[in-house]
Symmetry: C2
Subunit: 351 residues, 2 copies
């Protein structure tokens, strides 16, 4: 009988943040691909697009004009998934199976830059610091609303990720309940904190720094790494070195460090296939329910789908939906690829 | 303050099978779409394609020739996600964060028909019964292997769902562990059974039949419905009326009824947008670990991504990955649309 070799043998890995497993098939990276190829636009975008509803000065679907903004710009989503109205609701306890409850919330769009053609990795550090400050302000303002208990900051980048406009922007969905994935994470973070008196991610980060194998970028205040339990091919997580729960806890130095690591990580992403690398990213941090939450430790997830090339992505379908997430390349291999790539954006070098 | 109206107001619904919530935004179905459109092939396929590695008599990537099969045909996946080798493994209990274990398994491909161009809804009842018998045989044979504790039967249909060959086929991944989603479901089914002495799905089906609102098709032995907690736009579930745990428990009548409901449901799907409707589907049933599992109740899930047209799908991205699954059309509305559509395939009518 052969000894277990994690670099070669099919295995499962455990994700302690959500208490779920992922199936890893290192040997499968070699299978040929005859399926769907993604269409990636290589067209150069203009600085300003008169038909874009996010560009400064243009008119949105609801007839409102955007201001001639010069850095970032926030507005309420014109087709929000939640509404602010308070709804009267009496829970019908007879309903074992038809359990529903109204949900109040606010959705906002955050334009990252007036420039239609400038994605996050191509912005300068000042511009990215500005986005971070906008996120801080939104987290505070939305979090201060009495019924808002959770503020989800995220970005869908690229049409493959359902993004409907290439103008660089993210979104914020703030709501009264803790969303499912956050509630799961909080439960596991809390159990760990109650048992160990430290945050799970503080200890996890130490273990990863000792190992080094999955580290992509390290600076004074943050580390970008491929989690041991990553499900997407080039999934990463940015974790703060200091233990704190939320983006408003950043010191001035941490803001600059975070802007820097965001620029470097997303530049490395674009350098993987010399293309604008699609992903969904988002920050997981303390709920805004007014409780202390010593268990929370600021971190940001990146879920990028591309696997073999700029046009071949990983499909999380049949087995993955019904059974378990599955990946074909080990997290260590992905980390090595990302680590070795330049953190200077490929387009910069062309200039 | 307005009273809660489930047909109009944003709300969350609870899925007792996996103990998770879904966010429902009924008012949002009207938002315009400017994002990615899927490419759906409308090309008529030949009966036989000399370049297809699933067609009878053709040679596969590994050099083996398929037999000239006449009904369904099963072979080991040439690029399996798991391997059968037994691996020596000692768990290192010091590893709090780097928890991994080798996983043994077998992946098979099930060709549904020798005809390259015949999808499930276009096959006749005999042909579909034949697939069911193949699934029964595989469930038995694989389940009898000592180390196999779970057999996942599924289909990825359409290139949007990562299916790399239009030749009608499904897959079976059998393995030693219970996959994450199945383990979650089993836990909730068991808690319900222990408390109520009946399966959760027996009681749920009764509640749905009393309501009628989400029923799509009902025959003597099976019901196809849109679950109250459906996440995908036209998600459905087929549940057996009689309580039993696995596909090998079917009576002869149940086999015919199941073939019939499969044909009708997938025909309705194709009729939604007069296109071959992509989906991932799969059977959830008793594990093959040799234990009794009175809590299991045979059912099949369908997760189809199309939302507004043959080319516009629902993206489960940013908020959905980081927060919670979200849908724009109510399950009741989807059920009504599916219920009212003909269960005769649109191509049949063209002939
Ligand atoms: O095995 P296939 O059909 O080549 O691959 C497809 O189904 C598998 C099982 O759901 C997935 O892991 C793959 O991502 C998908 O492309
Ligand atoms: O709000 P957008 O960008 O139009 O929409 C996109 O992001 C949302 C939040 O992740 C998703 O619900 C949508 O499916 C996706 O298309």
């Amino acid at each position: 009988m052969k000894n277990f070799d994690i670099t070669e043998d099919p295995h499962r890995r455990f994700n302690p943040l959500i208490n779920e497993w992922v199936l890893v098939s290192p040997h499968r990276a070699k299978r040929p691909w005859q399926g769907q190829n993604e269409t990636i636009s290589t067209e150069a975008l203009p600085n300003y697009d008169p038909t874009c509803y996010l560009c400064p000065g243009n008119v949105r679907a609801n007839g409102v004009s955007n201001p001639k903004y010069e850095s970032s710009f926030v507005f309420e989503n014109d087709f929000a998934a939640m509404k602010q109205d308070e709804i009267m609701f009496e829970e019908d306890i007879k309903h074992t199976f038809f359990k529903a409850q109204p949900e109040r919330g606010i959705s906002r769009v955050v334009c990252f830059s007036p420039r239609h053609d400038l994605t996050l990795p191509e912005m300068n550090i000042d511009g990215i610091e500005n986005i971070i400050k906008t996120w801080q302000k939104e987290y505070t303002d939305l979090g201060n609303i009495k019924y808002i208990n959770h503020v989800q900051i995220f970005e869908n980048k690229g049409s493959v990720m359902g993004c409907s406009n290439p103008h660089p922007h993210g979104q914020i969905w703030a709501q009264s309940s803790l969303p499912t994935q956050v509630e799961k994470t909080q439960k596991n973070l809390k159990a760990y904190f109650d048992k160990n008196g430290k945050t799970m991610l503080a200890d996890y980060l130490q273990a990863e720094l000792r190992s080094g194998e999955r580290i992509v970028i390290e600076n004074d205040h943050f580390v970008a790494l491929v989690p041991f339990w990553a499900t997407w091919p080039y999934e990463t997580m940015i974790i703060s070195k200091r233990t704190f729960g939320k983006i408003t806890d950043f010191t001035a130095d941490e803001t600059t460090s975070f802007a820097t690591i965001l620029k470097q990580l997303t530049s490395k992403y674009d350098n993987v296939f010399n293309t604008s690398f699609p992903y969904s990213s988002g920050i997981h941090q303390s709920p805004t329910d007014g409780l202390e939450h010593a268990e929370w430790h600021f971190h940001m997830h990146f879920y990028p789908p591309l696997l073999r090339s700029a046009t071949v992505k990983k499909f999380m379908v049949g087995y993955e939906m019904l059974g378990e997430s599955q990946r074909d390349i080990t997290p260590e291999k992905s980390a090595e690829i990302l680590r070795q790539l330049s953190d200077v954006h490929y387009k910069t070098k062309l200039k």
